[in-house]
Symmetry: C2
Subunit: 452 residues, 2 copies
């Protein structure tokens, strides 16, 4: 379907036409591009950076295959001499980036590439494409984690994610931020994520009687059955599930749980809990699903719903309330000359950068200082690390389990107020004096940074 | 990255556990599943069905590779005997579907699969996944086409679509509904769609002077240059573009256009048009981009903006105002017995179905009748066709160019009021008496169909 070789063509045509124009004019100088989000969506108090591993793999494998070149030639747009240049092109640049799982805010670079302009320009589309998707999803999923206050979360989004790549990345990013498992089998294989699932309404409907369906499933999976109880009547379904669970208990088996997928989840979870408890099934857990996201999870838990785990699907997997981020990849320096764009509402800050994070004495995040890369800002922890040099990776990709652990630690250091689901205050990000004065020197106008 | 063999694992785990339970209980009967959208999002008056070709290719190649089976075995969830059954499993069912590009409405099946339940169940996730994505995007893009009133549209969405698969499918579906081209090079290669592009701000910024950048690009691409003029000051950029265009004209070359990407596109397009016209450059076109969607295109054209073409990106490519559809794949019959779910707000209609479309004398669409498949509804045009029988395709996949032409014809037959961008009236879909009475016989309760 999509081979690693195809990725070089996951690009906007203009990257390649610009590249030919640079080449034709002998422009081979080093360019630095900075990837950042200009402004956070209204409902986002923080972002969780993700997608770096895919970008680094792409840069390592950066080459035009003979088939790709043959297609480009067939378009009639490019000169043969330029296509020969492309045939030999490899990525030889440096990459600075924040580790995946790092919390970032508006205008803070997630990644910076310094490379001959031809390479850095051609990389643009795929670099944005992957870090945009994964950062958006990791952020949305982290909000669900915050809302769930320690309850288990599982990724049920696959069927309505936007395509196969998104389905995989949603599973990856939800696990990165602390989900326990995914329903996505391919993601289980690819990333080593635990896979999980219950049953669909069709399973119940394929049997004459609901109770018979429960019994059949329990016979096949006595160790891992979770019954879906809302196909016809949820409370009746709960009573049938309880009967089958009692039969299982007599055989020394244990029903893991029941799933609610429609209706008033608060009222139903209470009544179902009562039915299960009265049947002596206190250990049978209640899993809720169906239209869930961080807002609904928070509301259910605030109301005291006795729900033990949430299956989170579509609304999370498409980041429904913010299905895109204003993420851009901007030229900030060419041949040592700082560059900045001044389009209204879309201006950018010049020069390669570093972010310095300050923590309070209790270990909580306090503020960030956005600085030029060569600056030192005493007491601040630099967030961007050099991860690639001369096109070579400087360290292996951290395993997902390590990133997951790291994220959990970092997320605890973000003060709760910035995790508010709505109207979170703006986390303080200051410009260093040197960056501020360089920006001014390149004629800032009021409101240009979209801060007004 | 993702091979055709991997697609069988693009599935929720529960499809496979249910399959093992069916198998263990000797349930090999024929099941019919129906794929439809329960309710349209508030801002949608119609849907454009798309994604069938990918689903049919998937069903043709439906098999578990040794690697897939080895992974499933490693999970410890499945019995060896069941995995041996999976090893031999092929899709041997029938598929009825509406052609891609067909206009459909709530509760109308887009596709129905009749197959041994094991196969039909395992196909669920991928079938929803592809038709959901492509129908959502084709619909959003068709709204842009309606808003653009004949102006050219190009797909610029790639960088912020949700992953590589989505990027490809957005290009495919926008072209299907009438966009002229895409910026996505891989989509150009894969689908034979014309590719197009202009230049980025980084290109301008890599040069000391904006005008120098225009001149350099024109030298390299004298036949296909479109200058981006908003990097520093749009009107100044327009004047520089005009000067370079006049130089080009003296050499017998022609500047194709200029692109506006920020600011007040209405005011700027007027002033830029004036600058170009006064420079004798009436044939230089104005392309607008930046945050566009059907709403903004309609507003610009209503206000009389002299914009010739629109580059439509992120908001269309993620279907921002409706980033998912309530699309489901429901068991409607098992072993000849009609089945229906009755969960509140999620009830479904029983039995295999057909949709009959009625046209008025002037050729405009008038109403649809949703009927049982074996019914004949005189005067109505049946929309679902049998496209696969016993696992074999009954006809080659229609070329995209044919689907595109077909869509344009069909879209003209949809009365304008249903194309309203907001508050479109509900297109009339009646149940046939036979379907209504079967539904009643299976105890409909008021409000169950989510129609209330």
């Amino acid at each position: 379907m999509i081979s690693a070789e195809d990725l070089i063509l996951v690009t906007d045509l203009y990257e390649l036409t610009m590249a030919q124009a640079y080449w034709a004019h002998g422009m081979t100088g080093l360019a630095t591009f900075s990837l950042f989000v200009r402004e956070l969506p209204p409902e986002r108090g923080f972002l969780v950076a993700a997608g770096l591993e895919d970008v680094l793999r792409f840069l390592e494998g950066f080459r035009f295959s003979p088939e790709a070149l043959a297609y480009l030639e067939s378009t009639g747009i490019f000169s043969r001499a330029f296509l020969e240049t492309l045939a030999d092109l490899r990525f030889t640049g440096d990459v600075w980036a924040v580790p995946e799982g790092t919390l970032v805010f508006a205008n803070e670079p997630i990644l910076e590439i310094t490379a001959p302009i031809l390479q850095a320009q051609i990389a643009e589309t795929y670099v944005i494409h992957q870090i945009h998707l994964q950062t958006m999803i990791a952020t949305k999923a982290a909000r669900c984690v915050a809302a769930a206050r320690g309850r288990a979360l599982v990724d049920f989004a696959l069927r309505r994610t936007h395509g196969v790549d998104a389905g995989l990345k949603v599973a990856r990013c939800t696990y990165l931020v602390g989900f326990q498992a995914t329903s996505n089998v391919l993601a289980g294989r690819r990333y080593g994520i635990p896979i999980t699932g219950t049953m669909a309404h069709s399973f119940i409907m394929a049997f004459e009687e609901e109770e018979e369906a429960f019994r059949a499933f329990a016979e096949t999976f006595p160790e891992r059955a979770i019954f879906l109880i809302d196909t016809y009547d949820t409370l009746e379904g709960a009573r049938k599930a309880a009967r089958v669970a009692q039969e299982m208990a007599r055989k020394g088996q244990r029903l893991l749980g029941v799933r609610l997928d429609s209706g008033d989840l608060l009222a139903l979870s209470r009544e179902v809990r009562r039915i299960l408890d009265e049947a002596g099934l206190r250990e049978v857990r209640i899993l809720a699903s169906g239209g869930l996201d961080e807002y609904r999870i928070a509301a259910l838990l605030e109301a005291g719903a006795p729900i033990d785990a949430f299956g989170v699907g579509t609304r999370m997997g498409v980041s429904e309330d913010a299905p895109w981020l204003d993420m851009v990849y901007k030229l900030v320096a060419y041949e040592g000359r700082p560059a900045r764009k001044r389009s209204p509402g879309k201006a950018s800050l010049p020069g390669p950068k570093q972010v310095f994070r300050f923590y309070a004495e209790d270990g909580q995040m306090q503020e960030d200082v956005l600085a030029l890369r060569e600056e030192t800002v005493p007491g601040g922890m630099p967030l961007l690390e050099k991860v690639m040099e001369g096109g070579r990776l400087l360290r292996p990709h951290p395993p997902l389990a390590i990133l997951r652990e790291r994220f959990q630690k970092e997320f605890r250091r973000l003060p709760e107020r910035y995790k508010a689901l709505r109207n979170a205050p703006r986390y303080p990000v200051r410009l260093s004096p040197a960056l501020a004065s360089l920006t001014n020197a390149l004629t800032v106008r009021r409101g240009e940074l979209g801060e007004g």
